[in-house]
């Protein structure tokens, strides 16, 4: 399949459906179809990225969803109220997205900071473009293959 050339691997370790619209969480076929990939050995772990806590909780209803990616940082702690304890109890892996709140938690931005025209922190600062619920969104509601990045290494020590 196409990813072999891209990722140089026989199987993908983790594939997360990226922020599907809320309706998708009520369509079992969205998640069922991916189990075939797991059974075929092409996909080791399945998961989904979500925008809302409600979506995260709903996603765990699907047995194939082994991991959930959700916004969680010092400024955005709502996930910890209900979802995180549930995920832990059900042994669903959680990837914390926007851990630095789109740069606000790096200590390097100020009220005078500006962003390039093609930076989402510029054109979508108030959420008009996508995801109205946050000032610095980085996750448009669309379906996409995940991209590996350095962040994958920043995990809990074993």
């Amino acid at each position: 399949m196409a990813w072999r050339a891209t990722y140089d691997t026989e199987a993908i370790d983790l594939l997360q459906l990226h922020c599907p619209p809320t309706e998708a969480f009520y369509l079992p076929e969205v998640f069922d179809g991916r189990e075939a990939l797991v059974q075929a050995g092409k996909l080791r772990h399945d998961g989904v990225s979500v925008e809302k806590v409600e979506e995260a909780i709903k996603a765990m209803d699907f047995p194939g969803v082994q991991s959930v990616q959700i916004i969680y940082n010092l400024f955005r702690q709502r996930a910890a109220e209900v979802f995180l304890p549930l995920a832990q109890a059900r042994q669903v892996g959680v990837l914390a997205r926007l851990p630095l709140s789109s740069g606000m938690l790096t200590g390097k931005l100020s009220a005078a900071s500006t962003f390039a025209a093609d930076d989402h922190r510029h054109f979508n600062r108030e959420g008009a473009g996508f995801d109205k619920a946050r000032p610095f969104p980085a996750c448009p509601p669309r379906l996409a293959w995940p991209r590996w990045n350095a962040s994958a290494l920043c995990c809990r020590p074993a």
Binding site: F75, V94, E126, S151
Partner: protein, 153 residues
Amino acid sequence: MSMAQLALRWILMNPAITCTIPGGKRAEQVIDNVAAADLPELPAALMAALEQVYASGVKASRGLYRNRPSQTRRETGGHCQNRCTSDLTPPSPQESAQTYVALLFGEAQLQQALGNLPPFDEAEIARRSQRAFELTCRLYGRPAGCLPSIKNH
């Protein structure tokens, strides 16, 4: 410990979290981020101070969002079945930036807590930095030592 490392290590303090996924534009940012995973647990006093910042600064203002009638609510004639996250409308860019910055830099309590962190010994920092460096090279499929080692982390 950098501010970013503090934010990342704080996330890993929650036992439900498997992993966090910061992005980095430059190699040193990636290295700094990766090294956060090796930092010791944050002291209880610091965790309490950070909780206070969130409770009094962020949560009290509903995550910096103001209450407004949502589009969803308007569309449904004033009804909202879930918790109506779309009710929360972002503040203006300037407002949010100023509030964030005030939270980060204006909280004497936070700064004091940061000052109470135990100092790391230099050799330990160098070791962790080197490990982060090696991981970064591996990540990008480059030979070990592909980046110059860190002199002043």
